[in-house]
Symmetry: C2
Subunit: 406 residues, 2 copies
């Protein structure tokens, strides 16, 4: 398997579709040490697309581990000022950012105090990003780089070629023209989002083993695909792969129980959460259970007022190229695009009509959650039915047996 | 060979002596991708010394290579604003920085346009550092991490154990208490600097094969060892190893020719300069020759007005633990502490009495060079005599046959 060729191809896709980088733009790349070959190809692809400057920041999870072990409590949530400067300048310059995921040591923090692990996040950076995201101020994209540790977590053996094959299928890298294939797929998903928008559902209902969850929508909730556009009109595709249509629910009225259908690897927390179940009452997660990692979820949900409320709901069916690989990737970028998912934490104002430019208080009053957290987890699959609830109480099947019904 | 143990020991030395890190200080670590094991040990050692926060920036020379290949001319010298913020905040917090050297691919840029290679440096950061250095605003230290590429360059084979052995000897890591050994050695070198200061030499003269160089000193030139102290009194040792006594010459009156006695690896430029000879007239380098790399030196010297003038003169003799290894390291941190060296480019105001706080114009008027460049190269050895010239024209031998004479 020519993984070097696949790396180049994935890098081109990330630059040309993910950020749709334009001549003269700066590019930031956020990667881990295991992502060096892709970071270098991204750099080259960016310069070939006309980038003015490319800056790579390599994060070392072992440095982060030492911080969680040793640092004072207030330092765990501290953002070094330069981290903010880096993204302030990017916003001013209308530059782009590509983040690379794919954990080489997905359990690296599993033996640390889950309270400290859950609290260890750069709050000021999370707040800056919420603002930049909702203002559509930066074209951004998330891609992944297969490595031995990730393959081990996914398959029980460090078979990187097997993981590359699954990643290549999921990202359409075997397609004769992956770039065109992705613009076409995003358009298809946009049509699906349009169909949902015409229905003007009042709520979405998920039912299956361990799941009976009603998620109300906002009056202005707008279903979207990853067919994104910045405030100045630069189209980009923030996730590669992407197979979802999603929107921002009304966080206040979520009711019922939901059981996660795939393990959830939290890269920031260095733990894998298994068999997660959450019960919501009046919008709030009031019960969290898991066979592994529950304490980290609880610590995350205790970070701020909005953390235990939902911020996103996303629908994916069997036509997903990710889902068709049959692989459980142990990586949210892939798993959330294999099946339906929801996220607790912050909602996106850009997915609600008329919510552009709302203050945080206004946003919350409009039913759009706000938090420094946004954690997706997978809840769909062949056994989970998805229905739309109309304003008159009618029930419209959306997904049955993993197949789209509208 | 237990290189993990040596790595831990070197890291402790860097933190406890190099920066002499105090509880509550922040630490920045600047390293390359090949330095990961040391960067992690530095992080741990720093937290154990009471660091508040540790931030590691890994530089990827391949990203830099792509920039030199592709970027517009003005981008080559650009400093991303966050790079300045990172050190501004460090200065405000009175934190420390450790830089790790040891190039894994010392010839990585050898096939690139030497003009562009020479121009590729962050000018604003160089200016910020000149200010911070002269204001003694940041405790800093440079250490190294052996790796296969560096060993290959030094020995012609990637024998990392052999390199570690030489590095351990040079850095006194085999000493029962390396920390105490270094504080003692720095004190010895301080005594040597004091002896030179008592002589009040007007100039230093180097003579040997291809070398006949007269370097005038400033009236206030103060010989120093690496026994540094910040403006608020934090002692630290900026180079480990360090074996030199050095001062800032009067850049205006340097006359004669000098031949480098060791290859000069320029990490920033990714090239190795061999058989460098420079002729100075009225202070300025007017002729530069080398069998390899001359164009990069010339490009550096063309960067600004001060670049082709001398900024440092340093004396090292046979008592150097680096020199006694008998190894030519192909790395300036080590080679410059094996033998006498000089640097073209900026001078240090802190090595001249009464020069604290001078503006750049005042500094230059006082005979202290200013430039964004500061490049050390090795000029000493058994065949090179070093003499002090007194105000009455007397000649006082300082080094003969590599042995200290005062």
């Amino acid at each position: 398997m020519d993984t070097a060729k696949l790396t180049t191809s994935y890098a081109n896709l990330a630059v040309r579709v993910g950020t749709n980088l334009q001549p003269g733009q700066d590019l930031l790349i956020d990667a881990s040490l295991e992502h060096v070959p892709l970071a270098r190809e991204l750099t080259r692809a960016a310069f070939e697309a006309g980038a003015r400057h490319v800056d790579v920041r390599y994060v070392d999870p072992h440095v982060r581990r030492a911080m969680i072990e040793y640092a004072e409590d207030d330092v765990l949530s501290w953002t070094p000022p330069y981290i903010l400067t880096r993204f302030e300048h990017l916003e001013q310059q209308r530059g782009a950012v590509i983040s690379v995921v794919g954990e080489a040591e997905p359990e690296l923090f599993a033996d640390l105090d889950p309270q400290r692990v859950g609290r260890a996040r750069m709050v000021a950076r999370a707040e800056q990003w919420n603002r930049q995201l909702n203002a559509r101020a930066i074209p951004w994209a998330i891609v992944a780089f297969p490595n031995a540790g990730w393959a081990e977590a996914a398959f029980g053996e460090p078979d990187v070629d097997r993981l590359w094959d699954a990643v290549a299928k999921a990202t359409r890298l075997y397609d004769p023209d992956p770039i065109e294939a992705w613009w076409a797929r995003v358009k298809e998903l946009g049509v699906r989002a349009g169909t949902l928008n015409e229905q003007k559902f009042e709520a979405i209902h998920f039912s299956g083993p361990g799941t009976d969850l009603r998620v109300p929508l906002n009056a202005g909730s707008r279903w979207m695909s990853a067919d994104f556009e910045t405030s100045w009109g630069q189209k980009h595709v923030p996730n590669l792969p992407t197979e979802e249509v999603f929107t921002t629910p009304d966080y206040r009225g979520v009711e019922g129980a939901v059981r996660s259908t795939r393990p959830l690897q939290l890269p920031n927390e260095g733990v894998t959460v298994r068999d997660l179940s959450i019960r919501f009452a009046s919008g709030k997660a009031v019960e969290v259970q898991a066979t592994e990692g529950a304490e980290v979820i609880k610590a995350q949900m205790a970070l701020d007022e909005g953390a235990p409320y939902l911020g996103e709901i996303a629908l994916v069916d069997e036509t997903s190229a990710v889902g068709r690989t049959g692989v459980s990737f142990g990586n949210t970028l892939f798993d959330e695009n294999a099946t339906c998912h929801i996220a607790y934490g912050t909602g996106f104002t850009f997915a609600v009509e008329g919510a552009d430019g709302l203050s945080i208080e206004e946003q919350k009053a409009a039913g759009i959650n706000y938090s420094q957290v946004h954690t997706d987890f997978m809840i769909g699959g062949p056994e989970v039915d998805v229905d739309g609830i109309t304003s008159s109480g009618g029930i419209v099947p959306i997904i049955r047996d993993d197949a789209w019904q509208l």
